[in-house]
């Protein structure tokens, strides 16, 4: 009799504990519920920096002054001057998407640093097209986008503060002059636990 009562109770308890044992849930990427880390760049930081850069670039009107319409951009080096390993595509791809969607510019992927194209297949097909049709080689892009991410850290007692500076520059390769630049700074502050690292 006791076994008949106890067995379903044990089974139900096990199911309850298993079902309620996890609090994993979805949150909006870059939203208010995102985790804020003082010592590293979070998703919402990349989104904020990319949004600031793309908005300012689109609003400036510099892309409308290019030789081509829409202007042709190439991505150059984004230097990581932080203490973390960062894939800078987390920043540049967001900027590229925003600028492409604005219709103000396109990006060439058959040119890259050290002659290495971002899209090797596309470059190969382009060269084949130029050879077969005896057409002119790809002209220089109108602008090149380069940048740097810098981390500065400050501490006072138990309070830590990190500032991430996202610096971007648009250069005219024909003149070598910078025609647009922006610096977006994101500062995060918090207290460290008195126990631990």
């Amino acid at each position: 009799m006791k076994k008949i009562i106890l067995l379903p109770l044990v089974a139900a308890s096990a199911a309850f504990i298993t079902g309620c044992g996890t609090n994993a849930h979805y949150v909006e990427t870059g939203g208010r519920q995102s985790i804020v880390s003082i010592g590293q760049i979070n998703d919402q930081d990349f989104i904020a920096a990319a949004n600031a850069a793309a908005s300012d670039l689109i609003a400036s009107g510099v892309l409308d002054k290019a030789q081509h319409s829409p202007a042709v951009l190439v991505l150059s080096r984004i230097v990581n001057n932080t203490g973390q390993q960062i894939d800078t595509d987390l920043l540049t791809q967001k900027i590229r998407i925003a600028v492409l969607n604005s219709g103000k510019a396109t990006f060439t992927t058959t040119m890259g640093l050290g002659g290495k194209a971002e899209d090797q297949m596309a470059k190969g097909l382009q060269q084949q097209e130029e050879f077969m049709n005896d057409s002119k080689p790809q002209p220089l892009p109108d602008f090149s986008l380069s940048g740097k991410i810098i981390e500065t850290v400050a501490r006072a007692g138990n309070t830590s503060q990190s500032t991430y500076s996202f610096q971007l520059t648009l250069t005219d390769p024909k003149t070598g002059n910078a025609v647009w630049a922006i610096e977006k700074q994101i500062t995060k502050q918090g207290t460290r636990s008195s126990v631990g690292f």
Binding site: E28, Q44, A48, I58, G61, K94, S102
Partner: protein, 137 residues
């Protein structure tokens, strides 16, 4: 009795002095003319609307031919208030455009401060906008 009263007065003065509000100075004869627009507001958080109240909205076109929106906010309380905001954009057909880079922006406003927040539309096709104001999480 007198000691208790003196203590109570001291505490009240100390608490009152902890709120730092903002003073400001500006040109009384404004040179720039803002293109103010009439706006429609939905308030579900009266506390937030007092700390981060919308004074006015103006728009302009950027040299790049996209819509820029500027909103003036006023903190009608005496305390610093953190908040978040997000701009949403719509095309001529009322369809939402480019939500990928419409981030939630954390910000704060000092007690008594009047400040401006602004945003640039992601594309020249954007003709309309909506601003969402939220309490900081």
């Amino acid at each position: 009795m007198k000691t208790k009263l003196a203590g109570l007065v001291a505490i009240t003065l100390a608490v009152a002095g902890c709120h730092n509000t903002m003073n400001s100075v500006e040109n009384a004869q404004k040179e720039g003319q803002r293109n103010m627009i009439s706006d429609q507001r939905v308030v579900t958080d009266t506390g937030l609307s007092r700390a981060v109240s919308v004074v006015g909205v103006n728009t302009a076109m950027t040299p790049g031919g996209v819509l820029r929106v500027q909103v003036e906010l006023l903190n009608r309380t005496r305390s610093l208030h953190p908040f978040s905001y997000r701009f949403e954009w719509f095309d001529a057909n009322g369809m939402q455009v480019g939500s990928g880079l419409s981030p939630v922006v954390p910000d704060q406003i000092e007690g008594g401060e009047s400040k401006f927040i602004s945003a640039v539309a992601p594309s020249p096709i954007c003709k309309d906008f909506r601003l969402k104001l939220l309490e900081a999480h």
